[in-house]
Symmetry: C2
Subunit: 471 residues, 2 copies
């Protein structure tokens, strides 16, 4: 059992970070730190105290105190998470990295940037743009999320086909361990096989193995041109079948390939007061290409368009300017909002399947939807098989019925993932929300090994307990 | 202490893999499995018995037996390693994966291939070429090395700037744990945050955490064109300074940027009976560009050439055909052989520094060479800071003097790596050869964590003991 946060503990925390960086006894302020962006309120939990350290040394002192006194600590970024990873599930100390928000170094000669965890992801690229380089991590919440949270969740997003996910760019980390030691993994080195790959073990560990206090990020040359293609299809299978062809036959790696099913498109059209140009559309792909040579990009867009036309597309729209691109992206961007307008009671999912399995997934979602009388729109990152199927309560369904139904729907959905060679989270994480389902897709021995790793780092299980699995 | 391999153990191994797949009591045959490609003979060690399993079940049975009986097991690929990773440092069982050499599945719809660990790396790409896709892992030994060894060492090579190293393409692994359980990590999923990143923890673990029995590899569209540029420079600094400019100013990511210093070039020229066209050359870069559009590639080559000319190059040669490319690459390919001809007594190093530190490294190598009266040619992958500085015994130096000198040279070299933010191995691994030096670049707490991870997987320390660190 964990120990409570007493007034004496609060005083010691105040000594470490200064009185103004501690929130205690103010329910309204504490409440802001009790949840993330999950729609489901049951995963929220109040912290006993919030601390906002300003340095690795302060984080270290907090962890030493917590470890000695057996008090749980939950690290938190901007609170934009979607699995409850930054929610203090066991109360205790909420450690917000919001004050550690400096860009420490822009090292153009090494094509690296060194940042603190509390920097807003998009700010890094705004600062870098004049230098002709960028950080290719691209979570959908980049305008508000912190880079530390991106690393903790190994955030993905819509450009992973070409650029991979966050972890690919993380070269080094300064980490405060649960026991308080400050360690360094990796560095400004693009090749490093000196011991186990501790950097990538830390990436995606959901704040359970350590707290990042410094992040070394590799940069790429900034693309200067972009073309978006919106392709409408008569059915899901035709749309999905073309996805691998772009890479195998077209020999092109697009920046992203987004997918939207009919329900996602029509609901969003209704929400936006727009109309589908071709009523027979049952699926759409949004294909993004980027590069530094506009002529070559046009050639590539042409090649993709031809491939689409040979493979059953109804119509392709190309957008080369920011204005037309925004028009094309408008529906995709508004899907989540459109379904929230129908019902805020929902479960945003983050399933992944091997891309060739997507056609099998779609009729299954339709069956599941009918069987349990819920809406299941499906959209997301088709190019990497990561789809945000969302279980949405119908307006007429009683909340009590929904509460009984949802776990059944999730169980059947996740079991299907296992059957299709997929998994239950591609980029949002396990956190609090999905931990009870992890055994459906990860073996017992595999989970036992993960728990041993957790205990190797955190023998008293005080750092972000209750996430990913229970010990 | 480990138990010896008795006749009874041999009989039980024969029952598992069949008599023809066990080598015991035949010193000549066993000797083949006692070393890898390391020049230093002191890291060789005879196995007591060699077993060649044909399936995960057989590997599992071997590990269960070894774990119960406390006998060390060393997994081995093709024996092309350069750090002693596949050498049975404590004798016992040498587990060769040479019979597990099937390409199990070519899944073009998912752009994945599933292979056993004993497949020769280059065979994968020869088989895939007609399909227009390839595996972008590119170790220099690809004609002979096994893909399992590539994964175990997280092999790099000359194309890492654009394509990254082996680990980027490893999406899933079937692994036999040291305790004999067969587990699966990852799968045919390009995004997966379901628990810790066990796949990337296994990659580069040098055969100390488990034995891969199945490897799922992501494929890329195959480039159809290639241009090589050979650039000669008056000094190292001018050559190295241009490397980041290609990416920052040129906004291009070349496939590879290889570097050769004067000593490497002139020794290899002597060895090949060739002459340097410009006697004032003190350094050279070999810049490789690839893609699918020949016109665009020519534009890129032109842009790089112009950048080189604005930045102090003496001369640039471009090669677009396989013949001219081979001519350009001939010197680079023969450096190692040229120095072996001078003296087979040498230590091939694999140091890494942040690329902008290479100019500081070069004068240091010259000093070190003079101070200890050894040759230190330097060549390698400048684009990622991974240089194969090689400490070579001068012909006239007594072997006893060399044996005393080498550890001093290595210690000073590795200490300098730490000072420059580099490390002691970028792609060859720690293995047997570098383990005593790892504390020079990796902290005590960090190594202690790695040891805990090792024990979480291998409580009896029977899998490849004596590599990376001693327990």
């Amino acid at each position: 059992m964990y120990q409570p946060v007493t007034q004496e503990i609060v005083s010691r925390l105040e000594e470490i970070v200064g009185k103004k960086n501690v929130i205690f006894g103010d329910a309204e302020k504490l409440e802001n730190y009790s949840h993330d962006e999950l729609a489901e309120k049951e995963y929220a939990h109040m912290p006993d105290v919030v601390v906002k350290p300003g340095s690795a040394d302060e984080v270290s002192a907090i962890m030493k105190l917590a470890n000695e006194e057996n008090i749980p600590v939950t690290p938190r970024g901007a609170g934009t998470g979607l699995s409850g990873g930054g929610v203090p599930a066991h109360g205790g100390i909420l450690l917000s990295v919001e004050n550690m928000n400096r860009i420490l170094e822009v090292d153009l000669d090494n094509l690296m940037v060194v940042v603190e965890p509390g920097v807003v992801t998009n700010d890094i690229n705004e600062m870098l743009a004049p230098h002709g380089v960028f950080f290719a991590g691209y979570p959908m919440s980049l305008q508000s999320c912190f880079v530390g949270g991106n690393v903790a969740e190994n955030a993905g997003g819509g450009r992973a086909i070409k650029y991979g996910v966050t972890g690919r760019y993380i070269m080094g980390l300064e980490v405060v361990l649960p026991t308080g030691e400050i360690v360094e993994f990796g560095g400004k080195r693009v090749k490093d096989v000196t011991g186990y790959n501790m950097v990538q073990l830390m990436v995606g560990s959901e704040g359970t193995l350590g707290i990042y206090t410094k992040i070394i990020i590799k940069l790429l040359p900034l693309p200067t041109s972009k073309i978006d293609l919106l392709a409408l299809f008569p059915d899901v299978e035709t749309a999905i079948n073309v996805v691998p062809l772009i890479m195998t036959k077209g020999r092109l790696i697009p920046t992203g390939i987004e997918f939207m099913d009919r329900l996602s498109i029509s609901t969003t059209h209704d929400y936006l007061g727009e109309k589908m140009p071709y009523p027979e559309t049952n699926a759409a792909l949004l294909i993004e290409l980027d590069g530094t040579n506009p002529d070559q990009l046009r050639d590539e867009a042409m090649a993709v368009s031809e491939l689409l036309m040979e493979n059953g597309v109804i119509e392709v729209y190309a957008a080369e300017t920011p204005d037309t691109q925004e028009k094309i992206w408008k529906v995709r961007r508004n899907i989540a909002e459109a379904f929230k307008a129908i019902s805020p009671v929902q479960s945003l999912e983050d399933i992944v399947v091997p891309i060739a399995q997507i056609p099998k997934l779609m009729p299954f979602l339709a069956e599941l939807s009918e069987k349990h009388d819920v809406l299941i729109p499906c959209y997301g990152h088709a190019g990497d098989g990561n789809l945000h199927a969302t279980i949405v309560k119908k307006a007429e369904t009683e909340i009590e019925v929904w509460k009984e139904t949802l776990p059944q729907v999730l169980t059947e959905l996740y079991e299907k993932m296992a059957e299709l060679g997929g998994t239950i989270s591609g980029e949002h994480g396990i956190g609090h929300k999905r931990k009870k389902y992890m055994p459906l897709v990860v073996g017992e021995t595999e989970i036992a090994l993960m728990k041993k790793i957790k205990l190797a780092f955190d023998p008293n299980n005080i750092l972000n307990p209750g996430k990913m699995f229970d010990l």
